[in-house]
Amino acid sequence: MLEKANDGAAAQAASANKAAAIAHEQTTHKDAQLHHHHTHAATSHHDGGHHLLQVEDLNVSFCMYDEDAPYFQAKQRDVQVLHGLSIAVHAGEIVAVVGASGSGKTLLADAVLGLFEPNSTVTGRIWFDGERMDAEGLRALRGHGLSLVPQSVSHLDPMMRVGKQVEGFANALSKAERKARREQLFERYGLGPEVARLYPHELSGGMARRVLLCCALMDDPRVIVADEPTPGLDLDLAVRALDDFRSFANEGNGVLLITHDIELALRVADRVAVFKDGTVVEEAAVANFADPALLSDPFTRALWHALPEHDFAATASTDEQGRGNASIDKGGRSC
């Protein structure tokens, strides 16, 4: 559960927060200037003196049985997966989170949406549009202001036709309006009208991905958290999806784009946060990725070199034993 302050303390915190926010608004944001644990891009705004989405000092741990102990003697212990994570999304901005597989990117998305596994402990502070959120608040926002494009295509209901799933049931629009909106979105993403009648298992990977995207865009959210939205889409569709995120952000909304595809991320994002071992190791302006010398963290540089269009080098692999000495070249060859 997120920390719950009692009412008095909350009110006090809110007023202190407001004062800080106003001070924040008055600071001039030079491009990529670092403050509040994050940088700014030229297009970052602080509408109403706050961030659209701000996460500070997020910690997520899981209570698990000790994996090394014999089965019946295993004690429970906490495994910390995210620690001290801070990230902010400004209005009008796409923040890309790129990072090692297994570093906890998806857990960040889950925490922001208030989706907590029963054995998890989550602490930290999350503000949405200037309001401090607790677990209840995040739950209420889900689908009404904050939308998720989930990573796994298994998030679709296997027993429901996809057209119905996209149209949803609990929002303000009338049935006919929702249908029209769904048809419009389907057309935009090249899904034929017959697709609405299909069940999820009848879709290809790329089609399912597009259906998930349509779900998120259905009810005008303020922030979209997109967890790996592009795998399985051909380049043309992936670019179209990202362009949609761009125009969505340009209307004063925010996107947290979680991806491993640096190249696509750089195409649309304003800032890139590099994620490793459960925390953000570097926030870099998109321009810095033009040259590895401008990147400060060894892991970020390793990512750059590993791209197929650069060296395709498996140096400093995420191989876990190599944690902490990521700059050591293990002699990876290129093809």
Binding site: S101, G102, D234, D261, P308, C335
Partner: protein
């Protein structure tokens, strides 16, 4: 040689995805299949690996049909690893489906010992995919079919995993068929590209 001969396949109640489709993959080749999303690339991969039976035509390995029992010498590594493992088995048991898996292979793929006791939902997509690759390679297949195997991986891990796959193909003389939407990756690993278009190959 892995050969698809005049294959027709369609799902029940739908138009055939392709009819009379043929493709040949030599052991020394790494063939990239290219087609727009929704064309039926994944289905074709499943047909070639023996998961689906074509309505007409046949899949031949060195002139003979794929064996109906035992380990299939054509192994498919799927696009969504979370759908390729039993959600109720711990990873150790999932791996054991392939028999003995050499420790060296696990090390090469960066599979940590502590993951063995976990269930699939306790691993990330990329971690799960490494298990699927280990399971496929441990059976020492003659042909590997890689359906978007690295889309859920970060660039460093992607390069690393592909190094393992390419080393295997080179060492064992195994052929490979791959699907990828990343042109730069296809350029790097494929020796030949096949563009699919509606109706024929």
């Amino acid at each position: 040689m892995l050969e698809a001969r005049d294959i027709t396949f369609g799902y029940p109640g739908a138009k055939p995805l392709y009819s009379g489709f043929s493709l040949q993959v030599e052991p020394s080749e790494r063939v990239a299949l290219q087609a727009p999303s929704g064309f039926g690339k994944t289905t074709l991969c499943r047909v070639l690996a023996g998961f689906e039976r074509p309505q007409a035509g046949e899949v031949l390995l060195d002139g003979r049909p794929l064996p109906r029992r035992g380990v299939c010498p054509v192994q498919l590594i799927q696009q969504h690893p979370e759908q390729a493992v039993d959600p109720r088995l711990r990873m150790r048991k999932t791996l054991a489906e392939a028999g003995d898996v050499p420790q060296e292979l696990l090390d090469n793929l960066g599979i940590r010992d502590e993951w063995m006791q976990r269930y699939p939902h306790e691993l990330s997509g990329g971690e799960l995919q490494r298990f699927c690759i280990a399971r496929a390679l441990a059976t020492r297949p003659r042909y590997l079919i890689c359906d978007e195997v690295s889309t859920m991986l970060d660039a460093v891990t992607q390069a690393h995993i592909w190094r393992v796959l390419l080393d295997y193909a080179e060492r064992e003389g195994a052929g490979m068929l791959l699907v990828s939407h990343t042109p730069a990756l296809t350029e790097r690993v494929a020796t030949r590209k096949v563009k699919l278009s509606r109706g024929k190959s």
